[in-house]
Protein backbone atom coordinates (compact mmCIF):
# COMPACT_ATOMS: atom_id res chain seq x y z
CA UNK A 1 0.00 0.00 0.00
CA UNK A 2 2.90 2.33 0.81
CA UNK A 3 4.32 1.64 -2.64
CA UNK A 4 1.10 2.81 -4.20
CA UNK A 5 1.42 6.18 -2.49
CA UNK A 6 5.05 6.34 -3.61
CA UNK A 7 3.94 5.61 -7.16
CA UNK A 8 1.43 8.41 -6.84
CA UNK A 9 4.16 10.77 -5.64
CA UNK A 10 6.23 9.87 -8.69
CA UNK A 11 3.25 10.55 -10.94
CA UNK A 12 2.92 14.13 -9.67
CA UNK A 13 2.10 16.07 -12.88
CA UNK A 14 3.22 19.48 -11.58
CA UNK A 15 6.51 20.34 -9.93
CA UNK A 16 6.23 23.65 -8.03
CA UNK A 17 9.84 24.44 -8.90
CA UNK A 18 9.01 24.45 -12.60
CA UNK A 19 5.86 26.58 -12.56
CA UNK A 20 6.18 30.14 -13.69
CA UNK A 21 4.83 32.55 -11.09
CA UNK A 22 4.90 36.24 -11.93
CA UNK A 23 6.92 38.29 -9.45
CA UNK A 24 4.97 40.15 -6.81
CA UNK A 25 5.01 43.76 -7.82
CA UNK A 26 5.77 46.37 -5.24
CA UNK A 27 3.40 49.24 -4.89
CA UNK A 28 4.31 51.71 -7.52
CA UNK A 29 4.49 55.33 -6.52
CA UNK A 30 1.49 57.40 -7.41
CA UNK A 31 1.38 58.59 -11.00
CA UNK A 32 3.13 61.90 -11.17
CA UNK A 33 0.61 63.67 -13.28
CA UNK A 34 -0.86 65.82 -10.48
CA UNK A 35 2.54 66.98 -9.27
CA UNK A 36 3.64 67.63 -12.83
CA UNK A 37 0.47 69.57 -13.44
CA UNK A 38 1.18 71.94 -10.56
CA UNK A 39 4.84 72.39 -11.46
CA UNK A 40 4.06 73.09 -15.07
CA UNK A 41 1.39 75.57 -14.14
CA UNK A 42 3.64 77.44 -11.73
CA UNK A 43 6.73 77.47 -13.91
CA UNK A 44 5.45 78.24 -17.33
CA UNK A 45 2.19 80.02 -16.80
CA UNK A 46 -0.86 80.09 -18.91
CA UNK A 47 0.99 79.96 -22.23
CA UNK A 48 2.15 76.44 -21.58
CA UNK A 49 -1.08 75.33 -19.95
CA UNK A 50 -2.54 73.85 -23.10
CA UNK A 51 0.63 71.93 -23.86
CA UNK A 52 0.73 70.59 -20.32
CA UNK A 53 -2.90 69.56 -20.45
CA UNK A 54 -2.36 67.58 -23.64
CA UNK A 55 0.70 65.91 -22.15
CA UNK A 56 -1.21 64.97 -19.01
CA UNK A 57 -4.20 63.30 -20.62
CA UNK A 58 -4.05 59.82 -19.07
CA UNK A 59 -2.65 57.25 -21.42
CA UNK A 60 -1.15 59.83 -23.74
CA UNK A 61 2.40 60.14 -22.43
CA UNK A 62 5.04 57.64 -23.34
CA UNK A 63 5.70 56.96 -19.67
CA UNK A 64 2.14 56.13 -18.78
CA UNK A 65 1.51 54.20 -21.98
CA UNK A 66 3.77 51.51 -20.56
CA UNK A 67 1.80 50.88 -17.38
CA UNK A 68 -0.94 48.31 -16.99
CA UNK A 69 -3.28 51.00 -15.67
CA UNK A 70 -2.68 53.23 -18.67
CA UNK A 71 -3.21 50.42 -21.14
CA UNK A 72 -6.38 49.31 -19.35
CA UNK A 73 -7.63 52.89 -19.20
CA UNK A 74 -7.02 53.34 -22.92
CA UNK A 75 -8.82 50.07 -23.67
CA UNK A 76 -11.98 51.14 -21.84
CA UNK A 77 -11.98 54.80 -22.83
CA UNK A 78 -12.94 55.02 -26.46
CA UNK A 79 -15.59 57.10 -28.18
CA UNK A 80 -18.82 55.29 -29.05
CA UNK A 81 -21.49 53.18 -27.41
CA UNK A 82 -20.22 51.26 -24.41
CA UNK A 83 -21.83 47.82 -24.20
CA UNK A 84 -21.27 45.39 -21.36
CA UNK A 85 -22.52 42.13 -19.96
CA UNK A 86 -21.38 41.10 -16.50
CA UNK A 87 -22.02 38.29 -14.06
CA UNK A 88 -22.03 39.42 -10.45
CA UNK A 89 -21.78 37.23 -7.42
CA UNK A 90 -21.91 38.47 -3.86
CA UNK A 91 -20.85 36.33 -0.96
CA UNK A 92 -20.29 36.72 2.75
CA UNK A 93 -17.64 34.29 3.96
CA UNK A 94 -18.09 31.12 1.97
CA UNK A 95 -21.80 31.60 1.43
CA UNK A 96 -22.77 32.70 -2.06
CA UNK A 97 -25.77 34.93 -1.61
CA UNK A 98 -26.69 36.76 -4.76
CA UNK A 99 -26.05 36.09 -8.40
CA UNK A 100 -26.97 38.55 -11.06
CA UNK A 101 -26.42 39.02 -14.75
CA UNK A 102 -26.44 42.56 -16.03
CA UNK A 103 -26.40 43.81 -19.59
CA UNK A 104 -26.38 47.44 -20.57
CA UNK A 105 -25.23 50.13 -22.91
CA UNK A 106 -24.35 53.76 -22.44
CA UNK A 107 -23.83 56.60 -24.86
CA UNK A 108 -23.77 60.38 -24.35
CA UNK A 109 -25.54 60.29 -21.01
CA UNK A 110 -28.19 57.80 -22.18
CA UNK A 111 -28.08 54.44 -20.42
CA UNK A 112 -30.19 51.30 -20.59
CA UNK A 113 -29.58 48.41 -18.22
CA UNK A 114 -31.35 45.10 -17.69
CA UNK A 115 -30.63 43.01 -14.63
CA UNK A 116 -31.53 39.39 -14.03
CA UNK A 117 -31.24 37.49 -10.77
CA UNK A 118 -30.70 33.76 -10.72
CA UNK A 119 -33.01 31.51 -8.76
CA UNK A 120 -32.67 27.77 -9.12
CA UNK A 121 -30.30 28.29 -12.06
CA UNK A 122 -32.93 30.28 -13.96
CA UNK A 123 -32.69 33.99 -14.77
CA UNK A 124 -35.53 36.25 -13.68
CA UNK A 125 -35.68 39.80 -14.93
CA UNK A 126 -35.66 42.07 -11.90
CA UNK A 127 -34.85 45.52 -13.16
CA UNK A 128 -35.02 47.68 -16.28
CA UNK A 129 -33.29 51.00 -15.80
CA UNK A 130 -33.18 53.75 -18.41
CA UNK A 131 -31.51 57.10 -17.94
CA UNK A 132 -31.74 60.09 -20.27
CA UNK A 133 -31.67 63.85 -19.77
CA UNK A 134 -30.76 63.45 -16.11
CA UNK A 135 -33.90 61.42 -15.38
CA UNK A 136 -34.05 57.71 -14.66
CA UNK A 137 -37.02 55.49 -15.43
CA UNK A 138 -36.93 52.32 -13.40
CA UNK A 139 -39.09 49.27 -13.87
CA UNK A 140 -38.77 46.66 -11.19
CA UNK A 141 -40.40 43.28 -10.99
CA UNK A 142 -41.70 44.28 -7.57
CA UNK A 143 -44.37 46.69 -8.76
CA UNK A 144 -44.36 46.53 -12.58
CA UNK A 145 -44.98 50.28 -12.75
CA UNK A 146 -42.12 52.33 -14.19
CA UNK A 147 -41.01 55.05 -11.77
CA UNK A 148 -39.25 58.23 -12.72
CA UNK A 149 -36.66 59.91 -10.58
CA UNK A 150 -33.70 62.22 -10.83
CA UNK A 151 -30.62 60.36 -12.03
CA UNK A 152 -28.33 59.59 -9.07
CA UNK A 153 -24.68 60.60 -9.55
CA UNK A 154 -22.18 57.78 -9.31
CA UNK A 155 -20.78 57.19 -5.82
CA UNK A 156 -17.82 55.12 -4.75
CA UNK A 157 -19.59 51.78 -5.09
CA UNK A 158 -18.29 50.21 -8.32
CA UNK A 159 -21.18 47.73 -8.23
CA UNK A 160 -23.84 50.39 -8.60
CA UNK A 161 -25.78 49.76 -11.80
CA UNK A 162 -24.17 51.61 -14.65
CA UNK A 163 -21.02 51.44 -16.72
CA UNK A 164 -18.98 48.93 -14.67
CA UNK A 165 -15.66 50.59 -15.55
CA UNK A 166 -16.71 54.15 -14.63
CA UNK A 167 -15.15 53.84 -11.16
CA UNK A 168 -11.95 52.50 -12.70
CA UNK A 169 -11.68 55.51 -15.00
CA UNK A 170 -12.23 57.94 -12.13
CA UNK A 171 -9.60 56.13 -10.04
CA UNK A 172 -7.12 56.26 -12.90
CA UNK A 173 -7.63 59.97 -13.45
CA UNK A 174 -7.14 60.55 -9.73
CA UNK A 175 -3.93 58.48 -9.75
CA UNK A 176 -5.31 56.07 -7.16
CA UNK A 177 -4.66 52.77 -8.94
CA UNK A 178 -1.93 50.65 -7.40
CA UNK A 179 -0.42 47.73 -9.32
CA UNK A 180 -0.59 44.37 -7.55
CA UNK A 181 1.25 41.87 -9.70
CA UNK A 182 1.40 41.91 -13.47
CA UNK A 183 -2.34 41.77 -14.17
CA UNK A 184 -3.97 43.34 -11.15
CA UNK A 185 -4.73 46.86 -10.03
CA UNK A 186 -6.05 47.89 -6.67
CA UNK A 187 -7.91 50.98 -5.57
CA UNK A 188 -9.18 52.07 -2.17
CA UNK A 189 -12.46 53.92 -2.48
CA UNK A 190 -13.56 55.89 0.55
CA UNK A 191 -17.35 56.05 0.78
CA UNK A 192 -18.97 59.38 0.12
CA UNK A 193 -21.40 58.86 2.97
CA UNK A 194 -21.73 56.77 6.10
CA UNK A 195 -24.33 54.62 4.33
CA UNK A 196 -22.03 53.81 1.44
CA UNK A 197 -18.99 52.65 3.44
CA UNK A 198 -15.43 52.21 2.17
CA UNK A 199 -14.56 49.86 -0.67
CA UNK A 200 -11.44 48.21 -1.92
CA UNK A 201 -11.60 47.13 -5.54
CA UNK A 202 -9.20 44.79 -7.35
CA UNK A 203 -9.28 44.90 -11.14
CA UNK A 204 -7.87 41.97 -13.14
CA UNK A 205 -6.77 43.00 -16.60
CA UNK A 206 -6.10 40.73 -19.57
CA UNK A 207 -2.41 41.38 -20.32
CA UNK A 208 -2.89 40.70 -24.03
CA UNK A 209 -5.90 42.89 -24.77
CA UNK A 210 -5.69 45.20 -21.72
CA UNK A 211 -9.43 44.69 -21.32
CA UNK A 212 -10.98 44.03 -17.92
CA UNK A 213 -11.49 40.38 -17.02
CA UNK A 214 -13.13 40.86 -13.66
CA UNK A 215 -13.06 42.90 -10.51
CA UNK A 216 -13.51 42.04 -6.88
CA UNK A 217 -14.79 44.51 -4.30
CA UNK A 218 -14.51 44.09 -0.57
CA UNK A 219 -15.81 46.09 2.35
CA UNK A 220 -14.64 45.88 5.96
CA UNK A 221 -17.03 43.44 7.60
CA UNK A 222 -19.17 43.42 4.49
CA UNK A 223 -19.70 41.22 1.49
CA UNK A 224 -17.21 40.39 -1.23
CA UNK A 225 -18.50 40.89 -4.72
CA UNK A 226 -16.96 39.42 -7.84
CA UNK A 227 -17.95 40.85 -11.20
CA UNK A 228 -16.83 38.97 -14.29
CA UNK A 229 -16.90 40.66 -17.65
CA UNK A 230 -18.51 38.61 -20.36
CA UNK A 231 -18.49 41.62 -22.69
CA UNK A 232 -16.99 45.06 -22.39
CA UNK A 233 -16.77 46.77 -25.76
CA UNK A 234 -17.14 50.13 -27.40
CA UNK A 235 -19.25 50.11 -30.54
CA UNK A 236 -19.61 52.77 -33.22
CA UNK A 237 -22.88 54.67 -33.08
CA UNK A 238 -24.56 53.34 -36.22
CA UNK A 239 -27.47 51.20 -37.43
CA UNK A 240 -25.61 47.91 -36.82
CA UNK A 241 -25.02 48.83 -33.20
CA UNK A 242 -28.63 49.90 -32.74
CA UNK A 243 -29.79 46.58 -34.17
CA UNK A 244 -27.42 44.69 -31.88
CA UNK A 245 -28.58 46.52 -28.78
CA UNK A 246 -32.17 45.57 -29.48
CA UNK A 247 -31.22 42.55 -27.43
CA UNK A 248 -32.07 44.80 -24.56
CA UNK A 249 -35.73 45.25 -25.48
CA UNK A 250 -37.79 44.83 -22.37
CA UNK A 251 -39.61 41.48 -22.38
CA UNK A 252 -41.96 42.47 -19.56
CA UNK A 253 -45.08 44.67 -19.65
CA UNK A 254 -44.65 47.81 -21.66
CA UNK A 255 -43.05 50.80 -20.06
CA UNK A 256 -44.82 53.22 -22.38
CA UNK A 257 -48.14 53.47 -24.09
CA UNK A 258 -47.03 52.29 -27.52
CA UNK A 259 -46.90 48.56 -26.89
CA UNK A 260 -50.60 48.07 -26.20
CA UNK A 261 -51.23 50.01 -29.39
CA UNK A 262 -49.20 47.41 -31.28
CA UNK A 263 -51.57 44.64 -30.16
CA UNK A 264 -55.00 46.27 -30.45
CA UNK A 265 -55.85 47.52 -33.95
CA UNK A 266 -58.62 49.71 -32.57
CA UNK A 267 -55.99 51.80 -30.75
CA UNK A 268 -54.24 52.41 -34.07
CA UNK A 269 -57.20 52.82 -36.40
CA UNK A 270 -60.22 53.60 -34.22
CA UNK A 271 -61.92 56.90 -33.54
CA UNK A 272 -61.69 58.98 -30.39
CA UNK A 273 -64.62 58.54 -28.01
CA UNK A 274 -67.14 61.39 -28.01
CA UNK A 275 -70.18 62.52 -26.05
CA UNK A 276 -70.89 60.87 -22.72
CA UNK A 277 -68.21 58.25 -23.33
CA UNK A 278 -65.64 60.96 -24.17
CA UNK A 279 -66.42 62.81 -20.92
CA UNK A 280 -66.09 59.58 -18.91
CA UNK A 281 -62.78 58.75 -20.59
CA UNK A 282 -61.33 62.19 -19.80
CA UNK A 283 -62.42 61.99 -16.18
CA UNK A 284 -61.10 58.46 -15.61
CA UNK A 285 -57.89 59.13 -17.57
CA UNK A 286 -57.17 62.22 -15.45
CA UNK A 287 -57.63 60.38 -12.16
CA UNK A 288 -55.51 57.42 -13.33
CA UNK A 289 -52.71 59.42 -15.01
CA UNK A 290 -53.57 58.07 -18.45
CA UNK A 291 -53.29 59.83 -21.79
CA UNK A 292 -56.92 60.52 -22.76
CA UNK A 293 -55.93 61.39 -26.33
CA UNK A 294 -54.80 57.77 -26.86
CA UNK A 295 -58.29 56.37 -26.03
CA UNK A 296 -60.34 54.86 -28.85
CA UNK A 297 -63.99 53.82 -29.10
CA UNK A 298 -64.28 50.03 -28.94
CA UNK A 299 -68.08 49.65 -29.04
CA UNK A 300 -71.11 51.84 -28.21
CA UNK A 301 -70.45 53.17 -24.68
CA UNK A 302 -67.10 51.34 -24.41
CA UNK A 303 -63.55 52.66 -24.97
CA UNK A 304 -60.07 51.19 -24.82
CA UNK A 305 -57.09 53.21 -23.57
CA UNK A 306 -53.41 52.23 -23.21
CA UNK A 307 -51.99 52.46 -19.70
CA UNK A 308 -48.37 52.65 -18.51
CA UNK A 309 -47.93 48.90 -18.47
CA UNK A 310 -51.05 47.52 -20.14
CA UNK A 311 -54.49 48.54 -21.24
CA UNK A 312 -57.78 49.77 -19.70
CA UNK A 313 -61.42 49.34 -20.63
CA UNK A 314 -63.74 52.27 -19.85
CA UNK A 315 -67.51 51.99 -20.00
CA UNK A 316 -70.18 54.69 -19.96
CA UNK A 317 -73.44 52.75 -20.16
CA UNK A 318 -76.91 53.29 -18.88
CA UNK A 319 -75.90 51.40 -15.77
CA UNK A 320 -73.10 53.89 -15.03
CA UNK A 321 -69.42 54.45 -15.81
CA UNK A 322 -66.51 52.31 -14.78
CA UNK A 323 -63.07 51.13 -15.75
CA UNK A 324 -60.93 48.01 -15.57
CA UNK A 325 -57.19 47.77 -16.25
CA UNK A 326 -54.79 44.88 -16.69
CA UNK A 327 -51.15 44.30 -17.63
CA UNK A 328 -50.36 43.73 -21.26
CA UNK A 329 -49.17 40.14 -20.73
CA UNK A 330 -52.53 39.20 -19.23
CA UNK A 331 -54.47 41.22 -21.80
CA UNK A 332 -52.78 39.33 -24.64
CA UNK A 333 -53.52 36.02 -23.01
CA UNK A 334 -57.05 36.53 -21.66
CA UNK A 335 -58.31 39.82 -23.04
CA UNK A 336 -59.93 42.45 -20.88
CA UNK A 337 -63.48 41.88 -19.64
CA UNK A 338 -66.17 43.85 -17.86
CA UNK A 339 -69.72 42.76 -17.02
CA UNK A 340 -71.70 40.04 -15.28
CA UNK A 341 -70.67 36.53 -16.40
CA UNK A 342 -73.42 34.47 -14.75
CA UNK A 343 -76.86 34.49 -16.31
CA UNK A 344 -78.41 34.00 -12.89
CA UNK A 345 -81.49 36.14 -12.12
CA UNK A 346 -80.34 39.67 -11.48
CA UNK A 347 -81.59 41.64 -8.49
CA UNK A 348 -84.32 44.26 -8.81
CA UNK A 349 -81.71 47.01 -8.52
CA UNK A 350 -80.18 45.75 -11.76
CA UNK A 351 -83.46 46.31 -13.57
CA UNK A 352 -83.55 49.86 -12.27
CA UNK A 353 -80.01 50.58 -13.52
CA UNK A 354 -80.52 48.77 -16.83
CA UNK A 355 -77.77 46.27 -16.09
CA UNK A 356 -77.86 43.19 -18.29
CA UNK A 357 -76.11 39.87 -17.81
CA UNK A 358 -73.22 39.33 -20.17
CA UNK A 359 -69.61 40.24 -20.73
CA UNK A 360 -68.00 42.94 -22.84
CA UNK A 361 -64.62 41.61 -23.84
CA UNK A 362 -61.71 43.40 -25.53
CA UNK A 363 -59.59 40.88 -27.43
CA UNK A 364 -56.14 41.42 -28.95
CA UNK A 365 -55.34 41.29 -32.65
CA UNK A 366 -55.23 37.85 -34.24
CA UNK A 367 -58.13 36.29 -32.30
CA UNK A 368 -60.73 35.07 -34.81
CA UNK A 369 -63.16 33.41 -32.41
CA UNK A 370 -63.85 32.60 -28.78
CA UNK A 371 -65.08 29.30 -27.42
CA UNK A 372 -67.12 29.61 -24.25
CA UNK A 373 -68.70 26.98 -22.07
CA UNK A 374 -72.07 27.05 -20.34
CA UNK A 375 -73.42 23.92 -18.60
CA UNK A 376 -70.71 21.74 -20.13
CA UNK A 377 -71.35 22.76 -23.73
CA UNK A 378 -68.75 24.68 -25.70
CA UNK A 379 -70.02 27.41 -28.03
CA UNK A 380 -67.99 29.18 -30.66
CA UNK A 381 -68.41 32.96 -31.14
CA UNK A 382 -66.73 34.62 -34.11
CA UNK A 383 -64.80 37.81 -33.32
CA UNK A 384 -64.68 40.86 -35.57
CA UNK A 385 -62.11 43.46 -34.62
CA UNK A 386 -61.10 43.81 -30.98
CA UNK A 387 -64.51 43.46 -29.34
CA UNK A 388 -67.13 40.84 -28.54
CA UNK A 389 -70.18 40.79 -26.27
CA UNK A 390 -70.83 37.39 -24.71
CA UNK A 391 -74.40 37.02 -23.46
CA UNK A 392 -73.85 34.08 -21.16
CA UNK A 393 -71.09 31.72 -20.14
CA UNK A 394 -69.81 30.18 -16.95
CA UNK A 395 -66.45 31.91 -16.97
CA UNK A 396 -64.47 29.53 -19.13
CA UNK A 397 -63.36 30.78 -22.51
CA UNK A 398 -60.61 30.05 -25.01
CA UNK A 399 -59.19 32.35 -27.67
CA UNK A 400 -59.06 30.80 -31.15
CA UNK A 401 -56.25 32.09 -33.33
CA UNK A 402 -55.66 31.08 -36.98
Amino acid sequence: MIDLLEDLRDANPIDPDTVDVPPYARRARQPAKRRAWRLTLAATGAALLIVAAVALIPGRTAKHNDTLAARAYAAVTKPGVVHWRTALRTHVGNQGNTQMVTEGWSHSGVTHILMWELYNHKPHLKLDLRTANGRTTTWSEADEHPRQSKAVPAGSDPNRLGDPMATFRRAYKAGKLTPLGPNRLKVDLPGRSDDEGDFTAYYDIDPKTSRPVRYVTTQPGGPTTTVRFRIYETLPFNATTRAKLRLLDHPAPASDSTTATAHFAVLRQGTAPAGKLGVAVKRIARSNHLDASAARKLAPGIALIPSHDGVCLITALASGTGSSCTGLTHALKRGLAMGVPNPAPLPKSARITGLKAGIDLAVPDGVIAIKTRFHGRWTRHPVHGNFIHLPRFSGQYIFIRP
Binding site: L4, R9, A11, N12, P13, Y24, H91, K122, N183, T218
Partner: protein, 171 residues
Protein backbone atom coordinates in the same frame (compact mmCIF):
# COMPACT_ATOMS: atom_id res chain seq x y z
CA UNK B 1 6.89 41.96 10.09
CA UNK B 2 5.09 39.64 7.68
CA UNK B 3 3.96 41.06 4.39
CA UNK B 4 1.75 39.81 1.61
CA UNK B 5 4.74 40.07 -0.68
CA UNK B 6 6.80 37.81 1.59
CA UNK B 7 4.03 35.21 1.73
CA UNK B 8 3.60 35.47 -2.02
CA UNK B 9 7.30 34.90 -2.65
CA UNK B 10 7.41 31.91 -0.34
CA UNK B 11 4.21 30.16 -1.35
CA UNK B 12 2.74 31.46 -4.62
CA UNK B 13 4.36 28.77 -6.77
CA UNK B 14 3.07 26.05 -4.46
CA UNK B 15 -0.44 27.49 -4.55
CA UNK B 16 -0.22 27.71 -8.35
CA UNK B 17 0.99 24.10 -8.56
CA UNK B 18 -1.88 23.06 -6.28
CA UNK B 19 -4.37 24.81 -8.56
CA UNK B 20 -2.75 23.50 -11.77
CA UNK B 21 -3.17 19.94 -10.52
CA UNK B 22 -6.88 20.53 -10.18
CA UNK B 23 -7.89 22.86 -12.98
CA UNK B 24 -6.72 24.36 -16.25
CA UNK B 25 -4.06 27.06 -16.43
CA UNK B 26 -6.21 30.18 -16.85
CA UNK B 27 -8.42 29.28 -13.90
CA UNK B 28 -5.35 28.36 -11.85
CA UNK B 29 -4.00 31.89 -12.34
CA UNK B 30 -7.35 33.25 -11.23
CA UNK B 31 -7.27 31.06 -8.15
CA UNK B 32 -3.81 32.31 -7.16
CA UNK B 33 -4.92 35.91 -7.64
CA UNK B 34 -8.00 35.41 -5.53
CA UNK B 35 -6.09 33.57 -2.81
CA UNK B 36 -3.70 36.50 -2.40
CA UNK B 37 -6.56 39.00 -2.38
CA UNK B 38 -7.84 37.06 0.60
CA UNK B 39 -4.35 37.02 2.12
CA UNK B 40 -4.19 40.78 1.83
CA UNK B 41 -7.55 41.13 3.51
CA UNK B 42 -6.88 38.60 6.26
CA UNK B 43 -3.17 38.97 6.78
CA UNK B 44 -3.60 38.81 10.55
CA UNK B 45 -5.29 35.40 10.26
CA UNK B 46 -2.55 33.77 8.17
CA UNK B 47 -0.73 31.27 10.41
CA UNK B 48 3.07 31.10 10.62
CA UNK B 49 3.03 27.84 8.67
CA UNK B 50 0.99 29.43 5.91
CA UNK B 51 1.00 26.78 3.21
CA UNK B 52 -1.78 24.46 4.49
CA UNK B 53 -3.91 27.52 5.23
CA UNK B 54 -3.29 28.81 1.68
CA UNK B 55 -4.17 25.41 0.22
CA UNK B 56 -7.40 25.48 2.24
CA UNK B 57 -8.27 28.91 0.84
CA UNK B 58 -7.38 27.78 -2.69
CA UNK B 59 -9.55 24.70 -2.27
CA UNK B 60 -12.56 26.81 -1.32
CA UNK B 61 -11.88 29.29 -4.12
CA UNK B 62 -11.74 26.40 -6.58
CA UNK B 63 -14.99 24.98 -5.22
CA UNK B 64 -16.61 28.39 -5.64
CA UNK B 65 -15.29 28.57 -9.19
CA UNK B 66 -16.73 25.18 -10.03
CA UNK B 67 -20.12 26.05 -8.56
CA UNK B 68 -20.03 29.34 -10.39
CA UNK B 69 -19.14 27.58 -13.66
CA UNK B 70 -22.02 25.16 -13.36
CA UNK B 71 -24.44 27.98 -12.62
CA UNK B 72 -23.04 29.99 -15.48
CA UNK B 73 -23.50 27.05 -17.84
CA UNK B 74 -27.12 26.78 -16.74
CA UNK B 75 -27.57 30.49 -17.18
CA UNK B 76 -26.00 30.44 -20.62
CA UNK B 77 -28.40 27.70 -21.63
CA UNK B 78 -31.32 29.66 -20.26
CA UNK B 79 -30.18 32.89 -21.88
CA UNK B 80 -29.66 31.24 -25.26
CA UNK B 81 -30.42 34.53 -26.95
CA UNK B 82 -27.24 36.02 -25.53
CA UNK B 83 -24.99 33.40 -27.09
CA UNK B 84 -22.77 30.76 -25.61
CA UNK B 85 -19.79 31.58 -23.50
CA UNK B 86 -16.75 29.34 -24.05
CA UNK B 87 -15.79 29.91 -20.42
CA UNK B 88 -18.82 27.83 -19.43
CA UNK B 89 -17.12 24.63 -20.62
CA UNK B 90 -16.11 22.58 -17.55
CA UNK B 91 -12.41 22.81 -16.77
CA UNK B 92 -10.35 19.64 -17.21
CA UNK B 93 -8.27 18.30 -14.36
CA UNK B 94 -4.92 16.52 -14.75
CA UNK B 95 -4.55 14.25 -17.75
CA UNK B 96 -5.26 10.66 -16.74
CA UNK B 97 -2.77 9.17 -19.19
CA UNK B 98 -1.50 6.32 -16.99
CA UNK B 99 -3.50 3.57 -15.26
CA UNK B 100 -2.59 5.07 -11.87
CA UNK B 101 -3.79 8.55 -12.82
CA UNK B 102 -6.88 7.08 -14.50
CA UNK B 103 -7.64 5.23 -11.27
CA UNK B 104 -7.11 8.42 -9.29
CA UNK B 105 -9.41 10.33 -11.63
CA UNK B 106 -12.10 7.68 -11.18
CA UNK B 107 -12.20 8.13 -7.39
CA UNK B 108 -14.71 10.28 -5.56
CA UNK B 109 -13.52 13.89 -5.16
CA UNK B 110 -13.05 13.57 -1.39
CA UNK B 111 -10.88 10.46 -1.77
CA UNK B 112 -8.91 12.03 -4.59
CA UNK B 113 -8.29 15.23 -2.63
CA UNK B 114 -6.87 13.55 0.45
CA UNK B 115 -4.55 11.40 -1.71
CA UNK B 116 -3.37 14.39 -3.73
CA UNK B 117 -2.75 16.48 -0.62
CA UNK B 118 -0.65 13.71 0.85
CA UNK B 119 1.22 12.52 -2.23
CA UNK B 120 1.49 15.63 -4.38
CA UNK B 121 1.37 18.51 -1.92
CA UNK B 122 3.39 16.44 0.53
CA UNK B 123 1.31 17.40 3.54
CA UNK B 124 1.31 15.57 6.83
CA UNK B 125 -2.06 14.48 8.17
CA UNK B 126 -2.21 17.46 10.54
CA UNK B 127 -1.69 19.92 7.66
CA UNK B 128 -4.10 18.07 5.38
CA UNK B 129 -6.65 18.41 8.18
CA UNK B 130 -6.18 22.19 8.07
CA UNK B 131 -6.85 22.18 4.34
CA UNK B 132 -9.88 19.93 4.55
CA UNK B 133 -11.29 21.52 7.68
CA UNK B 134 -11.53 18.28 9.60
CA UNK B 135 -9.68 16.52 12.42
CA UNK B 136 -6.32 14.77 12.01
CA UNK B 137 -7.98 11.48 12.94
CA UNK B 138 -10.52 11.99 10.18
CA UNK B 139 -7.70 12.53 7.68
CA UNK B 140 -6.07 9.26 8.75
CA UNK B 141 -9.37 7.43 8.25
CA UNK B 142 -10.08 9.07 4.91
CA UNK B 143 -6.56 8.41 3.69
CA UNK B 144 -6.74 4.76 4.64
CA UNK B 145 -10.04 4.30 2.81
CA UNK B 146 -8.91 6.35 -0.18
CA UNK B 147 -5.77 4.25 -0.63
CA UNK B 148 -7.84 1.06 -0.47
CA UNK B 149 -10.23 2.46 -3.06
CA UNK B 150 -7.36 3.58 -5.27
CA UNK B 151 -5.87 0.09 -5.06
CA UNK B 152 -9.23 -1.45 -6.00
CA UNK B 153 -9.76 1.02 -8.84
CA UNK B 154 -6.25 0.41 -10.13
CA UNK B 155 -7.00 -3.33 -10.14
CA UNK B 156 -10.06 -2.66 -12.27
CA UNK B 157 -8.10 -0.36 -14.62
CA UNK B 158 -5.35 -2.92 -15.24
CA UNK B 159 -7.53 -6.05 -15.21
CA UNK B 160 -7.20 -7.92 -18.56
CA UNK B 161 -10.53 -8.02 -20.32
CA UNK B 162 -11.90 -11.38 -21.40
CA UNK B 163 -12.19 -11.79 -25.16
CA UNK B 164 -15.72 -11.26 -26.35
CA UNK B 165 -17.50 -13.50 -28.83
CA UNK B 166 -16.76 -11.00 -31.59
CA UNK B 167 -13.00 -10.90 -30.91
CA UNK B 168 -12.90 -14.67 -30.65
CA UNK B 169 -14.61 -14.94 -34.03
CA UNK B 170 -12.12 -12.47 -35.51
CA UNK B 171 -9.29 -14.69 -34.45
Amino acid sequence: MRTVEGIYRAHARHVLAYALRRTEAATADDVVSEVFVIVERRLADVPVDARPWLYGVARRVLANQRRSDSRRAALQAALGVLGRDPAAVPAPEFEADTPLLAALAALRPDDREVLMLTAWEGLAARDAATVLGCSTAAVHTRLHRARARLQAELGRQTEPTLPTAATRAAR
